[in-house]
Symmetry: C2
Subunit: 191 residues, 2 copies
DNA sequence: GTCGTTGGCCAACACTTGTTGACAAGAGTA
DNA sequence: TACTCTTGTCAACAAGTGTTGGCCAACGAC
């Protein structure tokens, strides 16, 4: 039997308008500065509606921060290309979906958001790296190193907007970062 | 003639107690969640004193976020050791002084703090890297790449607390990260 | 039509925020 | 002593926050 699909409600449009506005605000302002009132205004409805549909700001964020990295299967590509492919994918995913930005901006000051980030790492990043077949104990470290490099780039380029990284062409970013990730994921020893 | 030293006031102890408490709170909570009242309570005085001595929350943060990275002279060390030395220095500086944590936590959601971060980069990091003598145009990019890697590590290890990076021994962190920084700073081409 | 259910808005609540002004105690000086 | 500047406290303001409950209109089944 198929899962019980709750039949579409008349308010679905409003619900998703709220969610979209919430993602936008959380991404632009972080958790505390993004107000329910501003989100409601963006969605063109009353603040009370946000509470009715999402109960609390906390749970609204939880709904808005749902995110799937959609990491490609790294075992199904030439082992020497893993670095490039992952960096390309990460940058694309970051730029096409503001959820990651919301998650990062919130995670820096909000416990629940930081938990989300750790969960995302544990559920999506770590397993994908582990599948590459390295010593399991080291695999987690490798995944962490990769996350540090990728999140650091995103932080400096998209959040802090450090001029040299904002200016840099995407191709150059990939050219510089990919070898690092490649090394973190596949090199036998640190150096 | 020497600079006009304002003679010590009786309230200097209070002033620096406020500043210390402010740094602590900004580091732990970020800009918006760190309240004047909490800072004053930590310093054991009345919130009004904070305003008297630092005028506004904005200017209190400006005072608390004053920071000198104290980057070593990279031209005065073996060129092959630049990576290790910079990473070691950065981690030490991060761990011994909570100002950097305050700066990062705040910069993610606060414009003025982000400006501070960019200024710190432009005034302290970029020149130090430029002194290494690479093509000036590329030097800025190299500095940016280094910042991305170092800040990314700090973000994941100290702010987001990703388990594998929290667990990892400091020596291992250095062993993995240093070659990356070394490459960003001294390699001719990306790979 | 009628009537219950749903979607929506409004006004208000309790609370926290940064910030201000009035005022009391203490030190230092005449 | 009296007088002034400093250091400090207290109470309050005005604005903004998440959140709540009541009320109205429109829809859909009967």
């Amino acid at each position: 039997m198929t899962a019980t699909e709750p039949r579409p409600r008349r308010s679905d449009a409003t619900r998703s308008a709220i969610l979209a506005a919430a993602r936008e605000r959380f991404a632009a302002d972080g958790y505390e500065r993004a107000t329910i009132r501003a989100i409601a205004a963006d969605a063109g409805i009353d603040p009370a509606m946000v509470m009715r549909y999402y109960v609390s700001k906390e749970r609204l964020f939880a709904a808005a921060a749902e995110f799937d990295l959609r990491l490609p299967d790294m075992t199904a590509m030439p082992r020497t290309e893993v670095g490039i492919r992952v960096v390309e994918h990460f940058l694309t995913r970051w730029e096409e979906d503001e959820t990651l930005m919301a998650l990062l901006r919130a995670a820096v000051t909000n416990q629940a958001a930081a938990d989300r980030m750790r969960t995302l790492f544990a559920d999506q990043v770590a397993p994908a790296v582990a599948a590459l077949g390295a010593d399991p104990a080291q695999a987690r470290a490798r995944a962490g190193l990769m996350a540090a490099q990728l999140l650091g780039m995103a932080l400096c380029r998209y959040v802090l907007k450090l001029p040299p990284l904002v200016t840099m062409a995407r191709a150059d970013v990939v050219a510089w970062i990919a070898p690092t990730v490649q090394r973190y994921l596949t090199a036998d020893r640190p150096s």
